[in-house]
């Protein structure tokens, strides 16, 4: 059982589920944006602004960025705990991994704040 304190939900099962739910949200958002841009190849600034000012779109974008945060946190945790390990790199692996994880978490939180700043500043 995964009991590592730096995992997202402190439980492998919970992380597994959160990663699936966030994947579905991200897939829906990606497909929506791509189809929208394909259908509006002569997009204007006014039209783009109106779309992103709509409260439903803000909610969708917020859900997407929160999903990226959870999804990337869990995903990069898996990657780091697979490769940056004492078995592969010796005793310096643990402090190195903690630093990398803190960096990853900082960037993740910065993305969330940046997105909220963009969306609620327009």
């Amino acid at each position: 059982m995964v009991t590592n304190v730096t995992s997202f939900g402190r439980s492998g099962l919970s992380d597994w589920l959160v990663q699936r739910v966030s994947a579905v949200v991200l897939a829906a958002y990606t497909i929506f944006i791509v189809v929208y841009l394909l259908c509006n190849s002569d997009l204007t600034h006014a039209q783009w602004l109106a779309l992103n000012q709509h409260i439903a779109m803000k909610m969708f974008s917020l859900a997407a960025v929160l999903s990226v945060a959870a999804h990337a946190w869990i995903g990069l945790w898996s990657v780091l705990t697979d490769y940056v390990t004492v078995r592969l790199m010796g005793p310096k692996a643990t402090p190195l991994r903690i630093v990398l994880q803190l960096g990853m978490i900082t960037v993740t939180l910065a993305y969330v704040v940046w997105a909220i700043d963009i969306l609620w500043g327009i």
């Binding site: 699936r20 994947a23 579905v24 897939a27 990606t30 394909l38 204007t44 600034h45 006014a46 783009w48 602004l49 992103n52 990226v68 990337a72 995903g75 990069l76 990657v79 004492v86 078995r87 990853m104 960037v107 993305y111 940046w114 997105a115 963009i118 327009i122």
Partner: protein, 124 residues
């Protein structure tokens, strides 16, 4: 883990079947996408800042370097999306046999290549 367990470290003896290739590419594309999110947020920020910002993104995307970066980003997204959907389908218990896994891996690879080519057509 302090106890020494036997581990096969001879990479040359480990085969990389199609399922493993599809899996490692999903991992690589996921890590790449984490960086791509910064580019996308930057584009969103500038494009919404005003008509000038919107046009500056339009202009920027006419440069070949920007086109290559955008295409590479879309390629990572397309690949991760297709392989991710395969993951979700397998999580529902579909195609979990060895043969099913191989077939799914082939379908995912073909689907991703088609989407990546289409993304290239779109960008250029």
């Amino acid at each position: 883990m302090t106890t020494k367990r036997p581990v096969n470290l001879d990479i040359g003896t480990i085969k990389l079947p199609i399922t493993a290739i599809v899996s490692i590419l999903h991992r690589v594309s996921g890590v790449v996408l984490f960086g791509v999110v910064a580019i996308l947020l930057w584009m969103l920020d500038i494009s919404l800042s005003g008509p000038e910002g919107f046009d500056s993104i339009r202009d920027c995307l006419t440069s070949p370097v920007a086109k290559v970066i955008l295409w590479a980003s879309l390629a990572a997204l397309a690949y991760h999306l297709v392989a991710g959907i395969r993951h979700l389908i397998m999580d529902m218990g579909i195609g979990e046999s060895l043969e099913g896994g191989r077939l799914g891996a082939k379908l995912a690879l073909v689907g991703a290549v088609i989407l990546i080519i289409l993304a290239g057509v779109w960008v250029w």
